[in-house]
Symmetry: C2
Subunit: 361 residues, 2 copies
């Protein structure tokens, strides 16, 4: 089956639907008047209870979008995607919550709060440069947000050791604690302080679903006290590594780039990337490439080519053997570098604003 949006076909998403009760996103698509690129292309492939949020979007009624970043380094394509998903929902009239998960960065990655604070300034500048409107959103650090920590303490009583062990394995207590904090992040938008309760959508990678299950469970345990509505979620696919590895990973620098690397370094990584090409030019002309397994194709399709028709053309040209990998890499490099240059320029203007926001919240 030919499908220009069908990368990562190898993964067995059916298992997610059947075993974990994640719902398919596609049937909702027709009801969304202004779907994001991620939605149109099936990159957002699953959800929990998104209908509840969709109803409020349609009726122009209040809802929230909540997600965040673990401040361990510069924006990479994963945090970039989450940021753009939040901004998309903010543009659909959501009140947007962006959490700097510094407690998690500390408990899980040993990053001291003094250091994560500095990293967060850059992350927030990125978010603002991408179009987040701070006047209609709330950006905060977990460590400074008493409401989140209050919720974590409340939730503690209702979460057993068995539950956190099943999700996180044998870890230090701080790591379990940060799971409670994360549940606090997701439910904070529903507190009275923020005019809650209200439907909330949490756009995340599918690898984060366990947190959502835990939080939805807590929402129902504490429903009597707070009137929580179980939070909704959307799930995006996880990108492959540039080098053909199953996933971009920090310990493998050739698998990803950040938005703040030197341009030459980004260009080099793209140029060295794995592709869906054939061993020889002759074969590729004859058989065509395989965009479905190609990280170069994926980068454009996930992130940098907004126009669906242009993307379909790339797909067809690759499959027909017209577009060779060298040429495609050159094209992609140009698109990415232009974006990054432009973004870095914009971002510089937002650094002071970012610092100011983090000082207050």
């Amino acid at each position: 089956m030919l499908d220009p949006w069908g990368t990562t076909v190898v993964e067995d998403y059916n298992r997610l639907y059947e075993e974990f009760g994640i719902q398919r996103f596609k049937p909702l698509l027709a009801e969304i008047s202004n779907p994001s690129m991620y939605m149109r292309r099936g990159i957002i492939f699953g959800h929990r209870d998104f209908k509840r949020v969709l109803e409020n979007i349609k009726r122009h009624e209040e809802f929230a979008v909540m997600s965040g970043i673990k401040p361990t380094g510069e924006f990479h394509l994963g945090t970039f995607m989450t940021a753009r998903e939040i901004i998309y929902f903010q543009q659909q009239e959501a009140t947007a919550f962006y959490c700097i998960a510094d407690i998690e960065a500390y408990e899980d990655n040993k990053i001291p709060f003094e250091k994560s604070e500095k990293i967060a300034v850059g992350n927030v500048a990125d978010l603002l440069a991408l179009g987040f409107d701070p006047k209609r959103g709330y950006i905060y650090r977990q460590y400074k947000e008493q409401r989140v920590r209050d919720l974590a303490f409340l939730f503690g009583r209702s979460v057993t050791l068995a539950t956190v062990k099943a999700i996180y394995g044998e870890r230090n207590i701080g790591l379990y604690l940060s799971a409670l904090v994360q549940a606090g992040d997701i439910l904070m938008p529903q507190l009275e302080d923020f005019n809650g309760p209200k439907p909330t959508v949490v756009p995340v990678g599918i690898d984060q679903d366990a947190h959502l299950r835990l939080t939805r469970d807590l929402a129902s345990k504490f429903r009597r006290k707070f009137n929580f509505i179980p939070p909704s979620s959307t799930y995006h696919k996880i990108m492959k590594g540039l080098d053909g590895s199953p996933k971009m990973a920090k310990r493998n620098p050739m698998s990803y780039f950040t938005l703040h690397e030197k341009l030459e370094s980004i260009a080099k990584k793209i140029s060295n990337a794995f592709t869906g090409g054939r061993p020889t030019v002759e074969e590729q002309r004859r058989l065509g490439g395989v965009p479905e397994i190609c990280p170069i194709y994926e980068i454009e399709m996930y992130h940098f080519v907004e126009d669906d028709d242009a993307m379909v053309k790339v797909y067809n040209d690759c499959r027909s053997g017209k577009l060779l990998c060298g040429e495609h890499k050159a094209q992609t490099t140009e698109i990415v570098l232009n974006f990054v240059k432009d973004h870095q320029r914009k971002r510089r203007k937002f650094v002071d604003k970012a610092r100011e926001i983090l000082l207050v919240n």
Copy 2:
């Protein structure tokens, strides 16, 4: 061996010295110029690193005393003892920290914060009525004390699941979390905000030693960051239940009384108490009673008869068969009720002050 202070001889305290490294208190006694009743009578029988605190007492140098109460109900004889130990050290020039362990009351006893706040007002009024000087002390609620909670989050990373399971067994995450909070309580007096680091003594019942071990371990793990001095502790024996049960326990109302019960109820519990008496008056006259196993004797000796000579007389009169249980119970009832009446009268005057303190901190 006859020893007027030798109650609860049955317990094998040697094991504590040998296996857990708790040090004997008695050898220090000669160095203490003004020992408390609990010290003189061996009710405080063990310690960790108390010498460090003792040196500062002698040199009139700064040290802190820290303990607290889980706000689950009115003052009983256990919380009464801890309060008086804190007040004793405050009188030896310690800066005194009194923690309202409302997070623990929530995680362990399911007491909502709104309720524990009310209970705490009474507890603090008791503390003030017993002589705690709020001008040279700091009374606070865990849930409101950000410094304590900050420390808990920091400590989380260094405490493994295995450690908390060994101390607390398989519990909910909140219970483990409250162990971290408790370590925060014990080390907060050593923060710069409180002119730390400084020696700190934590007077507790021997059943609390596991917390101290955990906290001393954390103090050394975070020494580089905070310059913590490992906290010292003193351990008091645990009182028997009035009804002869091994320990006073809430689920067994005949085993204890609070300082705010109706006087008739206290009188009735004393009158029904188990004693070290003989089956018949004749036998008791002939053989004498056994004060070592008698909760009535213990109540006076632990709490209500400050004068050592008077106490020795009771001991001898019981052993010789001169003092019969009925008479002793009547005597004890009078002493206790006089104390309680007087205390309740004083306490009423401190309720507003207590409320004010808890509102601020």
